[in-house]
Amino acid sequence: MATQGNDIAALIGQASAHQKWPLARLISLVERNLPDAREQRDQIMQVLSAREPLDDCNGLVVGVTGTPGAGKSSLISEVCQVLLGRDSSCTIAVLAIDPSSEDSGGALLGDRTRMQLPVNEPRIFFRSQASARDLGGVGPQTFQVVRLLRQLFDYVIIETVGIGQSEVEVRQLSDHTLLVMQPLAGDQVQFLKAGIMEIPDAFVVNKCDEEALAQKSLHMLQSSLKLTHLALDQRKPARRLVFMTSAMRKRGIDELAAHLVGLHNDTGSRRDRKAQEDYHLRKWIRQEYGRYGIRVYEQRVLPLRQSDNAGIASSYEAREAQFIQAMEALISRL
């Protein structure tokens, strides 16, 4: 049953007031993978952007990565409680991604287990998503949902599956990435070897339940970081930060929350949304049409955009439509 235009406007109205079910249905519409889904997404994004101009001061998108069991969910739960408590108007959406089964395609979405969040509180919204066998540790539709949520909430926190390359992908979704690690688990060294240390904007060593452990871990991480001195320091050294937390003992949570508040208030902290859109459009094209698709995009769609009067498409959906048109034109010629 397709949702009609005025239904969508109504849903968006209710979702903007942070009503849970309408927002959830809107997310489902954006996640949907059917031929008419793009048009509907286009419609949704248009209504949304008419409501409030898309600018860099939209929600801060925070990507949280790290090995399963490091405490990502627990930490997010604690940070959310602090953020909600600090500012009575603050709104947060959490999007938690879990792996899908290779065998059946189904997924167990269990991050709620660790969430101790207020119930029926419009200021916080929690949604689970399956990675749908996407190797990046975020789902193919994650980007679309993030685009939606960041227009409705002050903070959008994404918890990734947390293995392998998710750090690379999550960077393309978020303004700020946190890598959550366990103390002295040897993760640090592993990440160094994998070259993943390049990715996060900040490190969180969680499970520092005791002060001594926190100190020891800080030391070890700092010396690990020194090893990659060159690789690290050339990039925004001022923003590279380390946090020592214990979600269990509620240590270091205030500092981490304050860090996020600072980023939220800093308009300069938003990553270039157009570049992210371009990345994700290319990613989708590559998945659906391979390298040929990318060539078509570069040769037939990008030039369109550059010549101002040829009806350039500034929105993601319009460019997507232009690409599909270009592809269809080529295919019909074959």
Binding site: M1, K20, W21, A24, R25, I27, S28, E31, R32, N33, L34, A37, G69, D98, S100, S101, D103, S104, G105, G106, A107, L108, L109, G110, D111, R112, T113, R114, M115, Q116, V119, N120, F125, F126, R127, S128, A130, A132, M248
Partner: protein, 673 residues
């Protein structure tokens, strides 16, 4: 009397032939309210039962008073409600507690119940050092299998150690805790897992006691001697005989090698038993009587490894709580075994058997490997927190489910020889089902109100303040708790004070990352339905599997969650003890296609009503179909359906893929219709 002693006979110290005394016969009992339960206990004692085994209701177990809204659906349902010392006085009315061996199945609030018992003794003028009995108080297995935990694991361990410290000095015949492998088997544990995880639990407790350094060497030995166990015995009774022998040998070795206990008397593996219930069927329930007898053999045949106390489930286990007659029938099994057979006349009948010896050493070797693995990862508390043990149990349970569905593991009357004449037992006017008197909860509430009215509020406040202070200050909490008991503090107040200091904890669910080994036609068929759905609607079907209320029976929900993922669903499952409101919220936020609720504690009517009320409030009633599974007596079906439940599943629906297939049909009907 012959001069030459015979190897097959037992002789006493003076050389006269003798025979063993039987174990303690127990019946796990309690329900409705303190008055009804007191009458039941006195009746059972009169029938020849030789110890008390007290079942408490879920609010009492989870630390809520009866007048807490969360308690309402559960008051007196699966055990007796205890709100204050006044309730205890009625519960033990005319029962000489100084002569009783009283076993209390209590965990999250174990310290509170022990404090009430001590306070009762002191108010009655009984010498507290005479008290004997057990508080179950094994929190590790609560996180893994039973679900009535409250505080984080570290704080729970502290309370346990407090109780050992207090008991050793003041009530030397009290077993401060009872390490349980029983519940692990009910949650799916194999014999090796049962051995390993129970012994890990004992090690974790003893290590914590050692770390507190509150005992002299001598006292520590005695304390080790107070560690007792509560074990399960399944239908594979030869293996169970071996498991029990392995337990005895391993405990002797561990206490000697790890703790240096010199006196062999303190290294004895002392244990009580409840035999397996997980394998008792709803189908042809009369067959359960035979299963129970066979299970009893596993823990009684070996003289060397015989249980000290035994309680048996009843033939109608999978239908409802037992009625008095059902309990009497089960008690008779024990009496016949102990008094009619020659079981108790012989020395150990397996000594020298190569087969038994080989099986025992095999079990031991595997269990030791597992124990070392857990100790290396940091011990019992760490293996709770990181979900290692829980995942292992869920994996075993799903293997069992797959074996039942495929018929690889035969269960007579369930997946084999399921046709038969109807049992006359279920043709009783009550259908073989026990119904709690719904009006009885009011008496409990009235008594609680009366207690609140009569007590001195200043004293209550002072006692609670002391409790909180002592909790913060790391002082042993027994004295403060006993003072609370005497001041008529309530169960909810005692727990809330400590919740305030320690916080609450939710353990890992163990379902994540589970793979199901199940390939069958039904798997293919349901996946086909899922694929069609995805093609038609553009997304994967989503289900929330919810456990509302205080019910801790998680097996069914876990299996349904794992099976749904195996069928191809995206499954939202986030553990037990959630409110109906939380479950509805998750269903809405996740925009699921169906809400599946699992309830086994008997509170389904009230909780389903709460769920629909909340769906109504959110404007989502009828928009999201609701299904229910668990122990649901048939007379309740019409009422539940009238409320809006689309389908009710029971243990008879044991092929999870057929269940999934039906769920797909229900989803489709609701989307299209």
């Amino acid at each position: 009397m012959s001069d030459k002693k015979k190897t097959h006979r037992l002789y006493d110290k003076t050389g006269d032939p003798t025979q063993d005394r039987p174990w303690i016969f127990r019946t796990y009992a309690g329900h409705t309210n303190v008055r009804a339960s007191n009458a039941l206990y006195r009746e059972n004692l009169a029938k020849g039962q030789t110890g008390l085994s007290i079942a408490l209701d879920l609010p009492t177990q989870c630390g809520y008073s009866s007048d807490d809204p969360i308690a309402r659906p559960e008051i007196g349902k699966v055990g007796v409600p205890i709100n204050s010392l006044d309730d205890f006085a009625v519960l033990f009315d005319q029962i000489p507690i100084e002569q009783m061996n009283t076993s209390i199945t209590i965990n999250g609030t174990a310290m509170w119940l022990l404090s009430l018992y001590v306070a009762l003794a002191e108010e009655r003028g009984v010498d507290v050092s005479k008290l004997s009995g057990t508080t179950q108080n094994d929190l590790i297995k609560e996180y893994l299998a039973r679900g009535t935990y409250i505080f984080p694991p570290e704080d729970s361990m502290r309370l346990i150690v407090d109780m050992y410290e207090y008991s050793l000095h003041h009530i030397p015949f009290w077993n401060a805790s009872n390490i349980c492998s029983y519940h692990l088997q009910e949650a799916g544990a194999t014999p090796v897992q049962e051995l390993a995880f129970a012994l890990v639990t004992a090690i974790t407790i003893l290590d914590a006691i050692k770390a507190r350094n509150c005992f002299s060497e001598d006292e520590f030995e005695r304390c080790v001697g107070r560690i007792s166990f509560f074990v399960n015995a399944g239908i594979r009774f030869v293996e169970e005989v071996c498991k029990m022998r392995a337990f005895c040998e391993m405990w002797d070795e561990i206490t000697q090698e790890r703790y240096g206990v010199k006196d062999p008397k303190y290294r004895l593996f002392r244990y009580g038993v409840q035999v397996n219930s997980l394998g008792l069927t709803a189908e042809q329930p009369e067959n359960n009587a035979w299963r129970i007898i066979l299970e009893t053999l596993g823990v009684t045949l070996s003289r060397k490894a015989r249980c000290r106390a035994l309680q048996l489930p009843a033939w109608n286990e999978a239908l409802s709580l037992p009625r008095p007659w059902d309990q009497q029938w089960s008690l008779r099994i024990q009496q016949i075994l102990a008094y009619e057979t020659d079981l108790l006349e012989y020395p150990d009948i397996f000594d020298g058997s190569h087969v038994i010896e080989s099986k025992v050493s095999d079990l031991k070797a595997q269990a030791y490997t597992e124990i070392h693995k857990v100790l290396e990862m940091g011990g019992g508390v760490e293996a709770v927190r990181n979900g290692y043990m829980k995942s292992a149990l869920v994996a075993s349970q799903s293997e069992r489910m797959a074996r039942l569905a495929s018929g690889e593991q035969i269960v007579v009357g369930k997946n084999k020889w399921s046709e038969g004449l109807e049992s006359p037992l279920v043709r009783d006017s009550d259908g073989g089902i026990f119904m709690v008197d719904a009006g009885a909860a009011q008496q409990t509430l009235d008594a609680l109100a009366e207690t609140r009215r009569k007590r001195d509020p200043a004293a209550v406040e002072a006692c609670l303040a002391r409790l909180t202070n002592d909790a913060r200050g790391g002082v042993n909490l027994m004295e403060a708790s006993i003072a609370c008991a005497k001041a008529r503090v309530t169960t909810g107040e005692w727990s809330a004070a400590l919740r305030g200091v320690f916080g609450e904890y939710r353990p890992p669910t163990g379902v994540e990352g589970q793979r199901m080994e199940m390939v069958s036609e039904s798997v293919g068929a349901v996946r086909q339905k899922v694929d069609n759905f995805i093609r038609r609607f553009g997304y994967r079907p989503r289900i929330v599997v919810g456990k509302p209320g205080l019910d801790g029976h998680s097996n069914g929900a876990e299996m349904i969650a794992v099976a749904a993922r195996h069928a191809g669903f995206d499954v939202i499952y986030f553990g037990i003890r959630l409110s109906a409101v939380e479950i509805v919220q998750s269903a809405l936020e996740e925009n699921v296609d169906i809400i599946g609720v699992s309830l086994l504690s008997g509170s389904h009517n009230e909780i389903i009503a709460q769920l629909f009320e909340e769906l109504d409030r959110q404007g989502a009633r009828d928009a999201i179909p609701v299904i229910l599974g668990g122990i649901i007596p048939e007379p309740d079906y019409p009422g539940l359906k009238a409320q809006g439940v689309k389908r009710i599943f029971t243990p008879k629906d044991f092929d999870p893929m057929l269940v999934m297939s039906e769920i797909m049909d229900i989803i489709l009907a609701s989307k299209v219709g």
